[in-house]
Amino acid sequence: MSAILEPLSSVCLLLGSFLLLTGALGFLRFADFYARLHACGVTETLATALIILGLMLQATDSALPQFKLLLILLFVLFSSPTASHALAKAAWNAGVRPRDRRGRRDIALPPGDR
């Protein structure tokens, strides 16, 4: 049993770490606030889920740590996208608008918004 679970757990942990790394890279390299938020907000949710899944696959004597990790996973799945949404909304309300690499506006804005 552990011969299957151990490698599976490692794969999940490594994949999660790799995703976090890509998110950090995107956060440093992307052009404007929303692209950066997209880079780390999306990868973070999946990466955290993968890392928690990897930890859950580690063999233990009782099922209690797995249950606690499941609760943490559920909490992250709720809170992480909501936090990204709150950040994006706060930025939009504060007047931050999408821009491209040269600092120009990248998208057509809805009417009434300048």
Binding site: F75, F78, S79, T82, H85, A86, N93
Partner: protein
């Protein structure tokens, strides 16, 4: 491996502290304070001080940046550049103080040394006899709520005093209590619909988790201090998303002010109860014939007092701060 984690964490701590000094703008400073608290909590975990880490994560990374954010919202996020002459006195005094502090650490025993005064005085006795005398797995709780309960009573009184002080300073003249909301947020212009729905799902579980931390403190990391902060943070989350008038209808300011004193009184009366039976102050052995059961009851009651006081004082401070902000905005 642990050394590597420690080095990385300490580098991040120093970098955050440096950024805190350099950065201008109060909002950025507040967020960096929160990051600093989270890093401290991680560092405490690597030192196996999970109870302290729990408190630091809840207070240092959670509630205190939140209160700072409310202050920033009330006074504006700009930080004026310093004007006038160089503060010569400060430039001289700060390095001298730092040098004295560093010289002071040279006399301290190395980290983890078994000869350190902290490990030679009463700690060995607590560690060896806690299982027999108190009978709970979490030695931190048995030290905090039984062996050193008098010190903990002092801490709870400090928290209560802080709440009273905030009320004395921030309560507007002519009004009784912490919050009399006059400003109603304009929900049509900017409804926080998604946040409101998600918080409505999560708040019951946050409250449940707070109760778990409160009553599981004997068996795992946690206890009254952490549970109180988590409980209050659920109330604050509700207040931030639904507005001060709504949360004041759910959790009345007058009741919370009253409860902040009730918690301290529960703690104190537990001690006096022992005195009335002719035992020393805070001696739990009066609660049951079996000494271990008596300790269990005493610890549960005392922790409940701590939890009630911490939760209500933080809520009171939040009400007082938020009331300032909403008065300033309207």
């Amino acid at each position: 491996m642990e050394l590597l984690v420690n080095i990385v964490l300490l580098i991040l701590l120093v970098a955050t502290a440096g950024a805190l000094v350099v950065v201008r703008g109060l909002l950025a400073s507040t967020m960096l304070t929160s990051v600093y608290g989270l890093l401290c909590a991680s560092f405490f975990v690597t030192m196996d001080a999970v109870d302290v880490a729990f408190t630091e994560a809840a207070v240092g990374a959670g509630v205190s940046p939140l209160l700072l954010l409310l202050t920033v919202a009330a006074i504006g996020r700009g930080e004026p550049r310093p004007v006038g002459a160089l503060p010569v006195l400060a430039i001289v005094l700060v390095p001298v103080t730092a040098a004295l502090l560093i010289i002071g650490t040279l006399d301290m025993p190395p980290f983890g040394s078994p000869d350190a005064p902290a490990h030679t005085h009463v700690a060995p006795r607590y560690l060896q006899l806690s299982g027999e005398e108190i009978g709970i797995p979490n030695v931190v709780t048995s030290v905090l709520a039984s062996y050193r309960a008098f010190d903990t009573l002092g801490e709870v009184l400090v928290i209560f005093t802080a709440g009273v002080a905030v009320l004395l300073i921030l309560a507007t003249p002519g009004q009784r209590g912490s919050a009399r909301p006059r400003y109603v947020p304009d929900n049509h212009r900017d409804p926080h619909t998604i946040l409101q729905i998600v918080s409505r799902i999560l708040i019951p579980f946050i409250l449940l988790f707070a109760l778990y931390v409160q009553f599981h403190g004997e068996y795992g990391p946690g206890g009254g201090f952490q549970a109180g902060v988590i409980f209050a943070s659920a109330i604050i989350l509700y207040g931030l998303l639904y507005g001060l008038p709504t949360v004041c209808r759910v959790v009345r300011p007058a009741v919370v002010e009253w409860l902040s004193a009730v918690g301290v009184l529960i703690f104190g009366i537990t001690g006096v109860f022992a005195m009335l039976s002719g035992r020393p102050f805070l001696d739990y052995s009066v609660f049951a014939d079996d000494p271990v059961t008596a300790q269990h009851i005493g610890i549960l009651v005392v922790e409940l007092g701590v939890g009630i006081t911490v939760a209500s004082v933080i809520t009171v401070i939040y009400y007082a701060f938020a009331n300032q902000f909403e008065t300033a905005e309207s």
